[in-house]
């Protein structure tokens, strides 16, 4: 989707630039809070996540800041760990998407017409194939775990990255200096390394940032469908699913993970929007 927007944009002006900086700042702060929580959770949590001494569904108080779950475990601790898992899902699946997507995209971009056509139409199908369903298949195969979710979401995201990479690759290959390099005897790999890869990232960084937020949301949905890993190492999506049954008794547990999810995704999306304004080559040309 972001691809279309990037391609559709031609000339942009002052409004965009002004909004861009605001987006970067606000997005950075929101995501920063979550990243901070994630880092803190590595070194410290108020309780051991498996500690069941808190009593069933206790209300929030001085010791258990967000109450306890039905096994008596500290909810605040789980929320902190959830931050770590959310960041892991985001980064992990974006990395998988980037590595795989760039490889496939380069392959399509460098290949002959026939291979390229086949790969392109396969990518169209892959993009049409819903992330969630792919993830469900992988979970059914590998079992429900964070890894399964990351792999599935990464795989699904790679199709978009691949399509963008292919477009950029072909554009660069058509440049005169690349033709010159070819004639001079630079190998295909050399061209990919020296000319294509360095020019990819301005195009890819925005969709990658958008995929971060999308990945966190997708994992939450998977967890909601019961395909994520349960507490004490539960993602926010899973916490929401567990809390749903006790929403009238312990409403806070059904709200806090959702708010954190929204903060994370809004943060990542704003960051992506801001980056788009800063990095869009057409915008720079206009300046």
């Amino acid at each position: 989707m972001s691809a279309v927007m990037t391609q559709g944009a031609t000339v942009r002006g002052s409004r965009r630039r002004a909004l861009g900086s605001i987006n970067l700042v606000v997005g950075g702060i929101l995501l920063g809070i979550i990243v901070l929580a994630a880092i803190v959770s590595i070194f410290w949590t108020p309780f051991d996540p498996a500690d069941t001494t808190g009593g069933r569904l206790a209300d929030p108080d001085g010791t258990h800041w967000a109450g306890t779950d039905k096994l008596g475990r500290d909810v605040f601790t789980q929320l902190l760990i959830g931050a770590r898992l959310a960041i892991t899902v985001g980064i992990g699946s974006v990395l998988i998407a980037a590595v795989l997507g760039i490889l496939i995209g380069l392959l399509a971009g460098f290949s002959t017409r026939w291979v390229d056509d086949a790969l392109t139409s396969l990518l169209d199908i892959a993009i049409a194939f819903p992330t969630l369903l792919l993830a469900m298949l992988i979970v059914a195969w590998r079992g429900a775990s964070l890894d399964s979710a990351i792999i599935a979401i990464g795989l699904a995201g790679s199709a978009v990255i691949a399509r963008l990479t292919r477009v950029v690759t072909q554009r660069i290959l058509a440049q005169d200096y690349v033709t010159a390099a070819r004639i001079a005897g630079t190998s295909t790999l050399g061209i990919a390394r020296e000319h294509v890869l360095p020019n990819l990232w301005p195009t890819l960084v925005v969709p990658a940032a958008l995929q971060f937020g999308g990945a966190v949301l997708a994992e939450a949905s998977l967890s909601y469908l019961g395909l994520g890993s349960p507490p004490p190492n539960a993602s926010w999506g899973r916490l929401l699913q567990e809390a749903q049954a006790t929403v009238t008794v312990a409403p806070l547990s059904a709200i806090l993970p959702g708010i954190l999810l929204v903060i994370t995704v809004v943060g990542a999306n704003l960051l992506a929007d801001g980056l788009r304004e800063k990095l869009d080559p057409t915008l720079r040309r206009a300046q």
């Binding site: 069933r56 096994l71 008596g72 429900a144 349960p230 749903q244 049954a245 009238t248 008794v249």
Partner: protein
């Protein structure tokens, strides 16, 4: 500036559209279920949707709940308090050697109008015993060596060996019209209800069968509504879309029902046992002391408190209080962390060890597994929880015996005989237990049968063949005006013909 008008108009339109939709919702109201009179069907909510209408082709407890005793009938019926009484058979006669049973049949007709004959009984029994059949009780019924229709209204069954639970097991075998063609989208049984409508994925509705041989149903019909998510099921009852739900899978929603004052909570006994089952064949679980150490390290009382909020019962072996052979063994392996440490040290694992717990990702299993992980950490045992789907469980654990330990709930009544089979997934192999349970099947009197089962039950408990964590409560919730709901959860049976409204 004139241009500002357009967006406002659009916003207005959007707001209108939203409120219009919200309004249609408000005026037509949600409660179509409970407000009805006794001419309306009773709406029953359940999370156990039958995978198929024909359990021979593989089924679930769902089809038992919806059809057994309601649409199809057996020769006998198992009552809500676990007794056996004649149904399509008017009784039975056994030969001296206990191997030949004669069943006279009642005058009854199938929903298609054909009479119930001995030929149908022969057909139905052979059907469940056929090689590709996946029907329940097939294994136990395989003691049948021959079924013949001696006359149109009499069936004679010959057994290969004595089976004291044979008649009981017949309570689960549907008698189906042998002329029936399509049993996957229609039915042809002899029960008090006919299948009126079948919507895979959402509902089954039953209408009274006007020519039913016995007591007519007391309601105008039954609609089963199926939900995959327990919360959605609870919400359906809370908002009046269903009148009664067949079972609560967690106590989480109980306060909601209690608070509103509009519901009756019906607590009965179930036969569903939550187990931590070891693979008794493999180290370290081939060692009795290791198994007993783990048993004693788990605080079952606290677990039951956490999962069921104090409902349900603690058990110490496979047989629940409602069945022959029950003994109070809940402290046979007491909760005692020091004892656990001592046993573990004696077994040569003083420093603990680590194992993988294959946990079905359904129901309460993941939560219970986490609890166990926390408990066993106290005796230095590290549990790695491996979540798998129910089907993967069947393939990996049940089919391939490829596991160290697993979680499972055993729903069936009288299922201690699983410990008799050394090829069962947990691989418990004890010659005495096998002998006693064999003798129990051949026992002359119920007392003798019960005593032998009790001996076997004590032995598996002494051996900590598995960890029997607790017996689930059977909790049904019904709107206040609903009467006649079956209380107990005997292997999912749910007889609906006495349920009334008002």
């Amino acid at each position: 500036m004139s241009s500002t008008r357009r967006p406002r108009l659009l916003v207005g339109l959007a707001a209108l559209a939203i409120s219009a939709i919200a309004l249609t919702g408000c005026t037509s109201n949600a409660g179509s279920g409970t407000s009805g009179s006794d001419k309306d069907p009773i709406n029953v909510g359940s999370i156990y949707e039958p995978t198929s209408l024909d359990p021979i082709k593989g089924g679930s407890s769902g089809i038992t709940e919806a059809f057994t005793g309601n649409v199809y009938e057996g020769l006998f019926r198992i009552t809500d308090d676990a007794k056996v009484e004649p149904l399509l058979a008017t009784g039975y006669k056994v030969s001296e050697d206990g191997l030949t049973y004669t069943f006279p049949l009642r005058e009854a007709t199938f929903h298609s109008g054909d009479p119930v004959t001995a030929e149908d009984v022969v057909f139905s029994l052979n059907r469940i015993l056929s090689p590709e059949s996946l029907g329940a009780r097939k294994k136990q019924l395989s003691v049948i060596s021959n079924v013949v229709a001696t006359d149109p209204k009499t069936v004679t069954v010959t057994l290969s060996k004595k089976s004291s639970s044979f008649v009981y097991n017949l309570g689960y075998v549907w008698i189906i019209n042998h002329k029936a063609k399509d049993l996957t989208s229609t039915e042809d049984g002899s029960g008090p209800y006919t299948l009126a409508d079948y919507r895979k994925g959402s509902s089954i509705s039953l209408s009274p069968y006007t020519k039913y041989w016995g007591d007519k149903p007391k309601n105008a019909g039954i609609e089963f509504h199926y939900y995959t998510d327990p919360t959605a099921l609870n919400n359906a009852l809370l908002t009046g879309q269903v009148d009664v739900i067949t079972g609560l899978t967690s106590p989480d929603a109980l306060p909601q029902f209690e608070k509103s004052g509009k519901f009756n909570i019906i607590e009965g006994t179930s036969t569903t046992k939550e187990l931590l089952a070891f693979n008794d064949r493999v180290a370290p679980f081939d060692n009795v002391q290791v198994r007993k150490a783990i048993y004693s390290a788990i605080d079952r009382k606290k677990l039951l408190e956490s999962i069921w909020d104090g409902r349900g019962q603690l058990i110490g072996a496979m047989v629940p209080p409602s069945e022959p052979g029950y003994l109070d063994l809940k402290d046979n392996n007491p909760y005692d962390v020091d004892l656990a440490k001592k046993l573990l040290a004696e077994s040569g694992h003083a420093d603990g060890f680590s194992f993988t717990l294959d946990t079905p990702d359904s129901g309460v299993h993941p939560t219970v597994a986490e609890f166990i992980k926390g408990e066993l950490a106290k005796i230095n045992i590290d549990v790695k929880i491996n979540l798998i789907t129910d089907d993967k469980w069947a393939e990996k654990v049940y089919g391939a015996h490829d596991f160290q330990a697993t979680m499972q709930d055993h729903v069936n009544d009288r299922d201690i005989y699983f410990y008799q089979n050394p090829d069962f997934y947990w691989g418990y192999n004890n010659a005495d237990v096998q002998k006693w349970l064999d003798e129990a099947e051949a026992a002359a009197t119920p007392q003798e049968q019960s005593d032998l089962i009790a001996k076997a039950n004590k032995q598996i408990s002494d051996d900590a063949a598995s960890v029997w964590l607790y017996l689930n409560p059977q909790l049904r919730v019904a709107a206040k005006d609903i009467k006649g709901v079956p209380v107990n959860g005997m292997n999912s049976l749910f007889y609906v013909s006495k349920i009334t409204r008002g």
